[in-house]
Symmetry: C2
């Protein structure tokens, strides 16, 4: 008799966004002609940069000729892409990361959910509340108990350093869902905490391109000593519209160690390399060429235009919501707006928007108990739909 992984029984029945998609689908079948606008799931709407399209078409053509076709690529990514990441995302901002510390992947969701595999089952995991559900669910699936770090309005949605010793802590900045961004001081405290406790920080900076304030850190490695305690995960999804292409990367510094039961140091870089060589087979060559193109001069210009477009959405939406009397967080160095619901629960507010205005948001309670009383809006819709959403919001009866 084959026994199942009982961790799965402790999950809520559906992955959050699948649950919302099902509700929207149900509405669509009742009102087939309804024009539903989504500011819910953080999916992009703008076309990919032109440089990426061209790079993909050229790469596809290469695959059709025997002289230039490519089979299995390097497990951790092609050097042409790794070197561009190393230079542009790190070296140019004064951070020294080596090529073999960068692992190209098919996106942040996979990296962030798989990284826990290299740790023991009995480690203490610290996760903010509210949170991107993947941190939580991947650890529940692995049978771990989680310590939640509340992020509330009174703390500016920044988790406080806990008294207890946590072994692995997931931090996300710019934050999904609250739109909060760590200051260097706040992040330094966490790096210090991790050093003292020999903990590891999983730093998710998928939205780093949305930081406009130069005082705010885009990488955890801007904090001195972070390379001894932190893994950094990044994605091209929200940078250049790769949600449908799948490419990201993770940095696992060689100075970062875990420990055996007996206290022997083990390189986490080597463990992750082993994991990726054994259970992954690289990212499509065509996709890696598209990712490389983002780092060209023309690519950077095109990416910057897309980011500006979405950030203007965020600005327009935030101003309009505040004019309607809502309290709104985020939306300034982040593509997410965290709106305080006026009365009722997150779910009730979600249902009102969906049913009265055919408008999709994400109920804050889906991100954890501390998300109750909030909903998340994204800035990733088209300008037209963002404006329409505002018009509809003005008419909703609460």
């Amino acid at each position: 008799m084959v026994e199942i992984n009982s961790g799965y029984l402790d999950l809520v029945p559906n992955y959050l966004f699948k649950d919302i998609a099902d509700k929207v689908k149900a509405l669509k079948s009742s009102f087939p002609k309804a024009e539903i606008i989504s500011l819910g799931i953080g999916d992009v709407t703008q076309p990919l940069p032109k440089v990426c399209i061209l790079a993909m078409q050229n790469a596809a053509a290469e695959m059709g000729k025997i002289e230039t076709m490519r089979g299995y690529g390097p497990d951790f990514g092609y050097p042409f892409l790794i070197q561009k990441i190393q230079k542009n995302d790190y070296q140019d901002v004064g951070i020294n990361i080596q090529e073999d510390e960068i692992f190209v992947s098919d996106g942040s969701k996979c990296d962030i959910s798989n990284i826990q595999e290299i740790f023991a089952k009995n480690i203490k995991v610290g996760i903010t509340n509210p949170v991107y559900p993947v941190y939580r669910d991947s650890n529940i699936m692995a049978g771990r108990e989680i310590s939640f770090l509340p992020c509330r309005e009174e703390n500016n949605f920044v988790p406080e350093i806990p008294e207890e010793k946590l072994d692995v802590i997931y931090l996300c900045s710019p934050n999904n869902p609250t739109g909060t961004v760590f200051t260097k001081d706040e992040l330094s405290k966490w790096v210090e905490y991790a050093k003292q406790n020999k903990s590891v920080i999983i730093f998710d900076s998928a939205y780093k391109e949305y930081i406009t304030n130069p005082e705010l850190p885009k990488s955890i490695y801007e904090i001195s000593g972070a390379k001894e305690v932190a893994i950094e995960s990044r994605s091209f999804s929200k940078t250049a519209g790769f949600t449908g292409l799948r490419c990201g990367y993770m940095v696992v510094p060689k100075g970062l160690n875990g420990y055996t039961e007996n206290g022997e140091k083990i390189s986490l870089n080597k463990m992750w390399a082993r994991r990726m060589a054994t259970k992954f087979n690289g990212v499509s060559y065509v996709t890696q060429r598209a990712a490389e193109a983002i780092f060209s001069l023309e690519g950077k210009k095109q990416v910057s235009e897309i980011i500006t477009y979405y950030m203007n959405n965020a600005k327009i939406l935030k101003q309009a919501l505040e004019k309607m009397g809502y309290t709104v967080f985020g939306g300034e160095n982040a593509p997410y707006l965290w709106l305080k619901v006026k009365n009722g629960s997150s779910q009730e507010f979600f249902s009102k928007l969906l049913n009265q205005a055919f408008l999709v948001c994400t109920p804050g309670s889906g991100f954890g108990s501390e998300g109750e009383g909030y909903i998340r809006f994204t800035a990733f819709a088209t300008r037209e739909n963002t404006m329409k959403a505002i018009e509809r919001l003005e008419k909703v009866k609460l």
Copy 2:
């Protein structure tokens, strides 16, 4: 202090093919001008079918226009691809598989290594010896003990039904590395065994397109009752040269159950759906369009030409090796040749070929203890290199 997953300490230091790649790299640096021929790692050399190139270029163009760009796709694959798989790979050969039993992925290696996650840690896992290392390593990483099922010449490299009760059994046909293909009778015995013991068979049929004998089963679902006990994994890598693109699929039938500690039935289809929705984010839209194109009339013709090309390599290589006095298995309904080493170990034979002939094979011992005394050749080289390899083999001093 963050403790590591001790399962990793039980692995051999390097993933097999990475180890070989390192040795080849070392040789290259000693003899920069040497023309090294690889019949080692099972990587393809023929360009992708033209229909796939065109499909990718069109899909890339779509991603560049706001009207047609696609963000997140369905977690389990686009219906356009799932329906083609359902019809061509199953319905047309008389097997009824439903759309929501098919999960499109970024390749067999990922599926095969991730599937063990949905089972309890304490299950008994049965793995053939020799074996594709991923079955073994993914279970060692998860901390499981493995029962090995020896596949020897005297049994025609087919594992015998064991006395003990195994909960999950990995079977691969056409087999990597031995090139053996299960007959319907042999496979039926395993299905019967799994039914009796409430076990699950993970059936890896990545090489099914290489079966030319119509009596041999391409799918485990050709065996009556298999949908109650088997998961089937398939890949476009060896079918249409997708090793550098990454696309495959897994079938998890809805009639397949696991059990809680208390004996309660749990749908494995639902568990896998939860796993994929939580820890995966779909395959590149561009890649899925390429995969879809394989199933067009023109696509099937182009795929068939590629398969014939490789199978002719296998035939030529096998005949030449037999003429040289070697005993060779496989290579008839499989792209792998399993050669009995005349004297010395697998590793010694590997080193002789590499150093004397600049020819790469895979030492059988890398696939498990029962692989000792054998080496694996692949049929995936170009014709030209296959012929050159034969010439060089004739001159090797054993």
